[in-house]
């Protein structure tokens, strides 16, 4: 009897202990609501107004969206996102998986090599952009180096060629991020139950076959997380463009993020900038919602 009483009667300290997690988390939750969702909503509202130099609230209907889709520069920015994002994700994944598989062969000095490949990830995109700006500058970097070595006809001027400049962004971004993808896959490879592989080996399967049929399919979750992370790096890419090409030559390497910045903040067309920001959000959601849907459904089934 006494035991039961002791259990139902709560000590005052218990009450505090119950509340502490809520108390500690509440500022974070509040800040998330205000500074993420609040501002998303505010940007959405601004995109339907005539805001120009500073925000104002004269309703303008879908005028800003119409203007946005008529704007040639926005078209270039969206095309560039597909070129840049597509190539960046594809090459990063392919290169990352390839390097992970090579590193997985129990080679010597694996730790050192892993660090070398992963290290670029520790740099910010601004540093990457600046470094590659020098490397790719025809008068300073690679082209000059090869020419000085005696190959007079060598040209590599993508950085200043408005048709090719977008690919220099891909080069720099892949250089920075493929090591990270490699690390993800390497961790995935190591977590696979070795008895399955041994069983396959006993059955006489060749090494490529083991990778293609057993290992890579079981890395599906890793593949998805890498894909999602690369996607969001591609869509929010801003600092790399600013440092490497600053959107140029002309506006040939503009991405939606740099477009949004230019129009909202330096051109004084906040309404148009907000509309472009909402289009970026729509792009992110278009990738995220199917992913979340499949993830959540997966856990429910499990």
């Amino acid at each position: 009897m006494q035991v039961v009483i002791a259990k139902t009667k709560k000590k005052p300290l218990d009450f505090i202990a119950d509340q502490i997690p809520k108390l500690v988390l509440s500022p974070t939750i509040l800040m998330t609501i205000v500074f993420i969702y609040g501002y998303v909503i505010w940007t959405g509202v601004l995109s339907f107004t005539k805001s120009s130099f500073l925000p104002n609230y004269k309703f303008a209907g879908t005028l800003q969206y119409e203007k946005l889709f008529e704007n040639e520069r926005w078209g270039v920015a969206v095309d560039n996102l597909f070129i840049f994002g597509g190539l960046f994700i594809l090459i990063c994944l392919a290169l990352g998986i390839f390097m992970a598989i090579l590193l997985d062969q129990r080679i010597r000095a694996e730790g050192a090599i892993r660090t070398v490949f992963l290290y670029p990830m520790a740099l910010s995109f601004i540093v990457t952009g600046t470094a590659w700006k020098w490397i790719l500058n025809p008068g300073l970097g690679l082209e000059r180096l090869v020419k000085d070595m005696g190959f007079e006809n060598f040209t590599f001027d993508w950085l200043i060629n408005s048709d090719m400049a977008i690919y220099t962004l891909v080069i720099a971004a892949v250089w920075q991020s493929s090591g990270f993808v490699m690390a993800l896959f390497l961790a995935g490879l190591r977590s696979i139950d070795s008895s399955i592989i041994k069983a396959a080996q006993i059955d006489g399967a060749s090494l490529p076959k083991i990778y293609l049929r057993i290992i890579l399919p079981s890395l599906r979750p890793v593949f998805f997380s890498a894909f999602i992370i690369l996607c969001h790096i591609a869509i929010k890419s801003f600092d790399l463009v600013k440092a490497l090409t600053n959107g140029g030559p002309g506006y040939s390497t503009d991405l939606p993020a740099t477009f949004m910045y230019a129009f909202s903040f330096t051109r004084g067309q906040i309404g148009l900038g907000s509309a472009s920001a909402m289009m970026m959000l729509a792009g992110v959601l278009a990738i995220l919602i199917p992913y979340l849907y499949s993830e959540l459904r997966g856990t429910r089934n499990a």
């Binding site: 500073l54 090409t245 600053n246 002309g250 040939s252 330096t266």
Partner: protein
């Protein structure tokens, strides 16, 4: 004990004195960060500190001032603008309309500003017929900077028309130099474009196209010709131009790597900082075909509403100091521009500045004085941005013809009005 009391008194007295000497603080936002420019802004700081005020420097780098304006907007929206900010041209009207600027009429009346500067200048400084900004200097944009030594080596003649320019540039190219130094940033492309437009079309054409945005002029054959001449300059630039800062392009002319640069007279500050003498080490001539016109770019400080009365006093002192002859002379000597104050003694100025002053006065009478499009004096930032996009994209891409660019220009301007 007595000694101790005395020293105590002395300490008390000195602290009172230092309190009374403390006056207001002015926080000044500007983007004068390159060598010659930074030197000029230090002059203003010194003069103000002499009057007992504190100067809080708020420099944001970036030649065209784009990043500075971004910072300013965020400060203004959050209710904490600086006392003064480097705002110019039609942007002053926009800030005035939003109610951020303070009325300077009292200072202006006391110092008779209206009689000190030409009317075309004071008009820009007023919002709703009240002074809200102070002009600092007048820049001429349509200059051609020349390294005479390279011209001598190449046996070329300093050009006065675009046809002569072509001739000279070919010779210089053959001699192994870069004929035209350039930085491929949008505003620099537009600066060159503007000089070409003025040289090919003349001031009337310029005004119709970039001030009045007359559709007929924007789509005219003359504009096609402007675009063609503009593109033809690309072959005389080096390959590394895209993204280069203007002062690095100027240093190419200083070092004797390049023969010419089309740039406003702020470039002279770089020549001066490198210890070069005008007429000997370098020449300044009007951009080809623009001998009788003058594209002006006026730097000015707009004054924001500040609450603290001491800071308000400091702000008024800043406004007054800017237009005083002492500052006008020293500042413009360093910056390479000419004083905005009329009737100044120009003795200390070099030949370039004297030429500039003469043509400023003469073109204001003849009608050749036009506001610079590339530097935000003729259009709002929206239209300017639209023009920049077309001009810079055309210049950097080989796929667009001059005719298409003309159509695009007209369309872009129409969409931004």
């Amino acid at each position: 004990m007595k000694k101790f009391k005395k020293s105590l008194l002395a300490i008390a007295a000195s602290s009172v004195m230092s309190l009374s000497a403390y006056a207001g603080e002015v926080e000044v936002l500007h983007w004068w960060t390159s060598g010659g420019e930074a030197k000029s802004v230090a002059v203003l700081k010194e003069l103000l500190e002499k009057q007992g005020h504190t100067w809080k420097d708020f420099a944001v780098a970036g030649g065209g001032g784009e990043s500075a304006m971004t910072v300013l907007k965020s400060r203004a929206v959050s209710g904490n603008p600086p006392s003064a900010a480097q705002i110019k041209g039609l942007d002053i009207q926009e800030w005035g309309e939003l109610g951020f600027l303070t009325d300077l009429d009292k200072v202006a009346e006391e110092n008779k500003w209206s009689s000190l500067m030409p009317e075309i200048v004071s008009k820009v400084m007023k919002y709703d017929d009240q002074y809200v900004a102070v002009p600092v200097n007048v820049h001429r944009v349509n200059w051609l900077w020349v390294n005479p030594e390279i011209f001598k080596k190449a046996g070329a003649k300093v050009p006065t028309t675009w046809a002569e320019f072509k001739e000279a540039a070919e010779k210089i190219k053959k001699a192994g130099f870069v004929p035209l130094a350039h930085g491929g940033q949008a505003w620099q492309d537009a600066t060159v474009f503007e000089s070409v437009a003025l040289g090919v079309g003349g001031p009337e054409f310029f005004r119709k196209a970039f001030v009045e945005h007359d559709m007929k002029t924007l789509q005219s054959d003359k504009m096609v010709e402007v675009f063609e001449v503009f593109k033809s300059l690309k072959q005389y630039m080096d390959k590394d131009a895209p993204g280069r800062d203007w002062n690095i392009a100027t240093s190419m002319v200083i070092k004797g790597e390049a023969a010419m640069q089309l740039m406003g007279d702020w470039a002279k500050g770089e020549f001066a900082a490198a210890g070069k003498k005008p007429g000997k080490d370098y020449l300044c001539v009007p951009a080809p075909g623009t001998q009788n016109s003058f594209t002006f770019n006026i730097d000015s400080f707009a004054m924001f509403n500040v609450k603290d009365p001491e800071n308000k006093k400091a702000q008024a002192a800043l406004a007054k100091t800017i237009l005083e002859p002492e500052f006008q002379e020293v500042f413009n000597l360093n910056k390479g521009s000419i004083p905005v104050r009329l009737g100044m003694n120009m003795e200390k100025f070099d030949s370039c500045a004297k030429d500039s002053m003469n043509s400023f006065v003469s073109t204001s009478k003849s009608g050749g004085l036009v506001p610079s499009m590339a530097h935000g004096m003729s259009t709002t930032s929206y239209i300017q941005g639209a023009i920049f996009d077309v001009v810079s994209n055309y210049f950097n891409s080989d796929k667009i013809t001059a005719k298409e660019a003309t159509q695009k220009l007209a369309k872009a301007v129409k969409a931004s009005i």
